[in-house]
């Protein structure tokens, strides 16, 4: 069994695989995954030990050797789908499908009350399914959670509703939207729940109802994934692998731009921030403890020398205790930059153990202190949510006015800024052409230990239009572009 040497014909097949893998790895790198040469070689070695017919095993073999970070899994999966799933001949737009026909047949025989015995042509069947039939099938698939049926529904509904035409320059999301709109999954969910309630021998308790709903929701999510995959397959068949892989390329979670994140990306960002803060906190705590070595600790050294017969073989040092800075976060929470402020506040509070004190201020055109909302709160995201809904930040019209906000900040809080304080201002400095009042920053800089400005806009947009970040920046100790989690993490690390 340990004979792994390839014979000549197999070597040819091996060569084809090597070619394919090379392209695949190229695409992974394009998508931003770091794949090193050794990992590349490992992958090639690994697939030799796996039966190629087994798609799942093949996928895991590649994943184990190429993807070393779980957040990259989704990107990997997408590329994999594009590269390997539709290499078979059976995936083309409008292809007949025997398996489905059989399924339909069974369905119809098993159930006489299925409405509409519509005309179906031979084994191809699929083309002639009416929307009603699809709806019926969908309901059944979701109710039973039958994988095969689910796949069939996905294929049918894409064929029927997505309106895909060869060569049409439209993205996958458009087709997905069209398909889902026609399926009306919300209504189906309601219907399923209703039926579950009717079928139960006694009325469902809230808990049971909740469980039923989660079950159906899971199935609906699965169906959506099937539909997405189906659309992707069809698109790849139409446009070719390379073109498709390019359009599907999505930024990794740590590279998603705060200001232009879609709702889905926002959700993934929120998920990413918790492990990130935990990692950061651990790293900082360690850095503090193991930073530099201090002077020799004589007593400790002598104590330890006893075990080596009085010879001071093991030197012990005192560790210095660096002082903890005090942090003032002043954040713009007007529409466009709100998400950025939210993440920064979250991050700063999550590692507040690293600072002696953290105070938070938010503004649009008025300014309000929100420190109390974080006090004694266990769930930071809840506090951040409260900040966005409860803080009193509108003074006149609710359009950003940095000048006025700074002026009020100076009046109320400037006295409390000490040489131990680090002030961080968050915002895009788009001042709607109000007065800048940059003297406030100049004064703060004099009082505080450091004054930093974080701007969520790309550097090339700075000082265009009503952005006056340049004017403020001249008074700051540092101005940083902070567009994604990676940059934010880097800054906070630098801060502590």
């Amino acid at each position: 069994m340990s004979d792994l040497k390839h014979d000549a014909p197999e070597a040819a097949a091996g060569w084809a695989i090597t070619e394919l893998l090379a392209g695949f790895i190229q695409e992974l790198r394009q998508a931003g995954l770091p794949v090193s040469l050794t990992e590349n070689l490992d992958a090639m070695e690994a697939v030799k030990h796996i039966p190629l017919e087994d798609r799942e095993a093949f996928k895991y073999a590649l994943a184990a050797t190429l993807v070393k970070n779980n957040t990259h899994w989704r990107a990997f999966e997408t590329v994999f789908e594009v590269y390997f799933s539709m290499r078979g001949s059976r995936y083309h737009i409008g292809d007949a499908d025997d398996e489905l026909a059989k399924l339909l047949e069974e369905l119809e025989q098993g159930d006489d009350d299925m409405q509409g015995d519509g005309p179906r042509s031979g084994s191809g069947g699929g083309e002639s399914m009416t929307p009603e039939q699809i709806a019926e099938m969908l309901f059944r698939a979701l109710q039973k959670g039958d994988d095969a049926l689910m796949r069939a529904v996905a294929r049918q509904s894409v064929r029927r509703f997505a309106g895909m035409e060869p060569g049409r320059p439209v993205g996958g999301t458009y087709y997905l939207y069209r398909t889902l709109r026609n399926l009306d999954l919300d209504a189906v969910m309601d219907k399923l729940m209703e039926q579950a309630r009717e079928q139960a021998p006694e009325p469902l308790t809230p808990l049971e109802e909740r469980l039923e709903q989660d079950e159906f929701q899971a199935r609906v999510d699965q169906l959506k994934r099937e539909i997405e995959a189906e659309i992707r397959r069809a698109l790849v068949a139409d446009r070719g692998v390379e073109a498709m892989a390019r359009t599907l390329r999505k930024p990794l979670p740590e590279d998603v731009d705060f200001m232009h994140a879609s709702r889905e990306e926002m959700a993934s960002l929120r998920k990413a921030i918790y492990p990130l803060t935990r990692k950061l906190a651990v790293r900082l705590a360690r850095k503090r403890r193991h930073g530099r070595k201090g002077p020799l600790d004589f007593r400790n050294t002598m104590r330890h020398s006893l075990s080596s017969g009085g010879v001071p073989a093991d030197l012990k040092f005192k560790y210095p205790r660096p002082s903890k800075p005090e942090i003032f976060v002043v954040a713009d929470i007007s529409g466009s930059v709100a998400a950025f402020a939210r993440f920064t506040l979250h991050l700063v509070y999550a590692i507040s153990g690293q600072f002696s004190k953290v105070r938070a201020f938010v503004f649009i055109d008025g300014i309000d202190e929100v420190t109390h909302m974080f006090e004694g709160v266990e769930d930071i995201s809840e506090a951040v949510h409260r900040v966005n809904t409860e803080a009193d930040v509108v003074w006149v019209d609710g359009h950003s006015d940095y000048g006025h906000a700074f002026e009020v900040f100076h009046q109320k809080f400037a006295k409390e800024i000490t040489p131990k304080t680090t002030v961080i201002v968050l915002g895009d400095a788009r001042n709607n052409y109000h007065a800048s009042q940059s003297w406030v920053l100049k004064d703060i800089e004099k009082r505080a230990r450091h004054l930093y400005w974080l701007n969520p806009e790309p550097k090339s947009y700075w000082d265009t239009g009503d952005s006056i970040v340049g004017e403020y920046a001249s008074h700051c100790d540092g101005t940083f572009e902070c567009r994604n989690l990676r940059q934010l993490e880097k800054f906070v690390d630098y801060l502590a």
């Binding site: 690994a46 184990a64 970070n69 779980n70 909740r210 079950e215 990692k279």
Partner: protein, 302 residues
């Protein structure tokens, strides 16, 4: 590197053997274990706490009849705890004993740096063992980045270099598992040398199977309910989602309490076994009740 025959025939075989020792794997887990054996590479297992990462190593050891050598990592772990250490107390004694005999220094030096004075620690022990072993390096993310470098030689070449003795090569390639809770990013060098396996919370079916296996007397319907409730709870945004081991504990508790059917009241009364933070418990209790309202509303609105 020494020749060796492979431990496993195929992926399904790995899966089946794991099942026999009560570890329910999935396609991914079994596949990576199989590959690790074939490629002679360590496995880096990552995932949330309590999803059976350490148990995987134990079960693999059990199923292949190998000895498990475990290195628990912690902050401040160093060479002398992980690799080897010279037994300098014994060396001192030897020097003092030899002094009386009037031996030359060269002879003495040769003497005190030999195997007799070497204390083997888990890593060295694993590669010098004659019998089959499984090496488990637990919670590798707890050591500092610098200490990680200690592991690199042994992980890629299965050898340990001791300046006084030379290089000690492995007699056989052990299966190596490294587990990580992902509290920090591991170094690229370490990751590159390993196969990567992410163990996540199991899906509904598998979790139910695990409960059925680990809690022998439980009924099928109760196991199903347990798995479903846990899945619902995991979907909430919690500080710490319930782990598999907590699911099992909960199932055991319900069984002990003689519960046959979980209703909201029982769930609320025992939820502190699943969740360990007060804020999480409050949230879960609220959610489990609240959902009713939204459904009723949805139904009424139609």
């Amino acid at each position: 590197m020494p020749d060796q025959s492979f431990r496993f025939e195929s992926v399904p075989e790995v899966r089946e053997s794991l099942r026999r020792v009560d570890y329910l794997s999935d396609e991914g887990i079994a596949g990576v274990v199989y590959l690790a054996d074939r490629l002679g590479k360590p496995i880096l297992v990552e995932g949330p706490a309590g999803t059976g990462k350490t148990q995987l190593a134990k079960s693999v050891a059990e199923m292949s009849g190998a000895r498990l050598i475990r290195l628990q990592c912690y902050e401040g772990l160093d060479e002398s705890k992980a690799l080897y250490e010279w037994n300098y107390k014994k060396q001192l004694l030897r020097i003092q004993a030899e002094r009386a005999d009037g031996n030359t220094w060269e002879k003495l030096e040769e003497d005190i740096f030999s195997d007799d004075f070497l204390l083997t620690r888990p890593l060295l022990e694993a590669i010098t063992a004659d019998d089959p072993v499984v090496l488990l390096i637990d919670e590798v993310d707890r050591v500092e980045v610098e200490t990680e470098a200690l592991l690199l030689e042994i992980l890629s070449d299965y050898q340990v270099s001791i300046p006084e003795l030379g290089t000690i090569e492995a007699k056989q390639i052990p299966l190596v598992f490294l587990t990580s809770n992902n509290t920090r990013e591991l170094s690229e060098a370490l990751k590159r040398r390993c196969l990567f396996l992410h163990v996540d919370y199991p899906d509904l079916e598998r979790e139910k199977d695990i409960v059925l296996t680990k809690v022998p007397d439980i009924t099928d319907s109760l196991a199903d309910q347990v798995a479903r409730i846990v899945r619902s709870i995991r979907q909430l945004e919690l500080k710490k989602a319930p782990s598999v081991s907590e699911t099992i504990d909960w199932a055991r508790t319900l069984l002990l309490l003689g519960v046959e059917h979980v209703d909201a009241e029982t769930a609320k009364a025992t939820i502190n076994i699943l969740l360990k933070y007060q804020s999480d418990i409050a949230k879960a209790v609220r959610e489990l009740e609240q959902e009713h309202g939204t459904i009723v509303k949805a139904a009424a609105g139609k």
